[in-house]
Amino acid sequence: MSSSELTAAAPVKRTSVAARRERPSGGWALLGSEISVMFRRWRTYAMFGALAAVPILIAVAVRITGGSSRGPAFLSDISSNGLFVAFTALVVCVPLFLPLTIGVVAGDTIAGEASHGTLRYLVIAPAGRLRLLAVKYAGCAVFCVAAALVVAVAGALIGMLLFPIGPVTLLSGVQVSLGEAYLRMLLIALYIVVSLLGLCTIGLFLSTLTDVPVGAMAATAVLAVIAQVLDQLPQLDALHPWLFSHYWLGFGDFLRDPISWDSFGQNALLQLGYIAVFGALAIGRFTTKDILS
């Protein structure tokens, strides 16, 4: 045995026991921390508040003015059935408000940590770059679920408060019970969550490109708007099915009887494609990135 090995084997005094595990844990603690930190930030609740304000404003406006036949889908049904507040609010939130909040959360994922300087400490902890990306993405997805539920639940509650509620007449003319109507509302929320997952991945990727979170946030939100504008131009017909926002408003299918899963399936497939492409880009970028923040 060489003298150098003897030095290396010198006993090390330790002050505490159980300070280190023999084998790595599954790593769920970081995901738990990510989610709990998100729900401890005022910013999160400010965005939830803004989202909840949409159904409340709609309901109050309709209550005061008695409603009108113009405006977004389902608006005219509100005064006869309060549940339609939730449906209307979801329709209103999908094109702009939800993508905006997703832009904030997804754009902040990596760039936000970088701007605080905490990214380097997470990486040397070591969180593992791939795992960190996965955790950040999962946190983002959890936010999508919470955001969609906030709109739906706030809509249902304010609708209940200001209008009569009862069995819902679907787009295909069939009437379903209140219980099933709630179920369909949750399905629509799920549809919206799936719709936003592609945008989340784009935001995550953009967030790995910069140390300035506001830049990534704005870029993500702007892309969501651009995609929808392009979707309106008939000259770009061929492009439309490939735009991540193409099926965003297709959840009306869940208000038919029987439920049509066509657009849900196509939407899910499209979003998976975006997740794969931008996920790969984010991984490629982040795992080789020099962290200088």
């Binding site: 002050t15 905490t118 380097r120 400490y121 040397i124 902890a125």
Partner: protein, 311 residues
């Protein structure tokens, strides 16, 4: 390389075409307190970032705790505690919450003892009283302490502390020194970088000196001191006369406070002969001393004086 806590060979980092770190061969013995010295902008932090796998080297190899970095980071880094380029925390979380969050990122840190370990780390840096405050409300020195606590969350084999005394008052600086000493006593290798030699000279056993991306010296403190010879200091009002007398013996004297100073080469005549000659020439000798050159002088000698950041 089992006896080295950190060993690099030919470590180089180029940003665009400029080499920020150039051909570094660093050798940090296990169990040492290793001072990593150099002026601002000499490549210390870039080196530390490479050691920890934050940035990838342009060339060269790194071994940390006997394993190759960055390839083996997943198993090496849990044993390394670090403070890199200042502390960084989420301002909207408390000190405790920040440390807990950081600890969850380490898969080798047991969740059952997490809270206790965080409290112990906060206690060790004297922050227990401010643990519940938002980091936003912390002073620079408190953040620095929290950053050091973050490096102490689990038992570490190696601690990398980049400018640990930044923003600390003299009392805090002394506490850091005491802490480093006690960690070293526990068997942890401590790698501490600083541009202020005086702050760490007292605790280091070894040191390396960087200048403009290159290593200009490394070794034990005694080795480094030996690098430059003793100096003779003459205290006198007749500075120019003293200088000319010394010049006769081949000594290159320079003005110093209260007289002149000169490096004493090995072939210089004995000190008593110099003193006699000075007195013989009528130099009003008020003080005469031969002393080993301090590390400070060696540091300045190697890195140059002045505030210019070298490019």
């Amino acid at each position: 390389m089992t006896d080295a806590a950190i060993a690099t060979s030919g470590l180089t980092k180029r940003f665009r075409s400029r080499a920020v770190v150039d051909g570094l061969d660093l050798h940090v013995p296990r169990g040492s307190v290793f001072g990593f010295l150099g002026p601002n902008g000499s490549g210390k932090t870039t080196t530390i970032r490479m050691l920890l796998g934050l940035i990838s080297p342009s060339a060269g190899a790194i071994s940390v705790l006997g394993e190759e970095m960055p390839a083996r980071g997943a198993s090496v880094l849990p044993r390394v505690g670090a403070l890199v380029e200042g502390p960084a925390f989420a301002p909207y979380l408390s000190g405790t919450a920040n440390l807990i969050r950081r600890d969850t990122a380490d898969r080798y840190a047991p969740g059952a003892t997490r809270r206790a370990r965080v409290e112990a780390a906060l206690d060790r840096v004297g922050l227990s009283h401010a643990a519940g405050k938002h980091v936003r409300a912390y002073s620079l020195g408190m953040k620095q302490r929290l950053g050091i606590a973050g490096a102490l969350l689990t038992d570490r084999d190696l601690l990398v502390l980049d400018e640990p005394t930044n923003g600390l008052d003299p009392q805090g600086t002394r506490e850091v020194r005491t802490l480093v000493r006690s960690l070293a006593d526990e068997g942890t290798t401590v790698f501490v970088s600083s541009h202020l030699l005086a702050e760490i000279e007292q605790v280091c056993t070894h040191a390396a000196i960087m200048r403009a991306g290159r290593l200009v010296a490394q070794g034990s403190l005694d080795d480094l001191r030996r690098g430059s010879g003793p100096r003779v200091a003459v205290e006198t009002p007749d500075a120019s006369l003293a200088a000319s007398v010394l010049a006769r013996f081949g000594l290159d004297a320079e003005a110093a406070a209260g007289g002149v100073e000169a490096a004493l080469p090995e072939d210089a005549p004995p000190a008593e002969q110099l003193a006699a000659a000075l007195v013989g020439e009528g130099v009003r000798l008020r003080g005469f001393a031969v002393r080993a050159s301090s590390l400070e002088e060696r540091f300045v000698e190697l890195t140059g004086e002045g505030f210019d950041v070298e490019q």
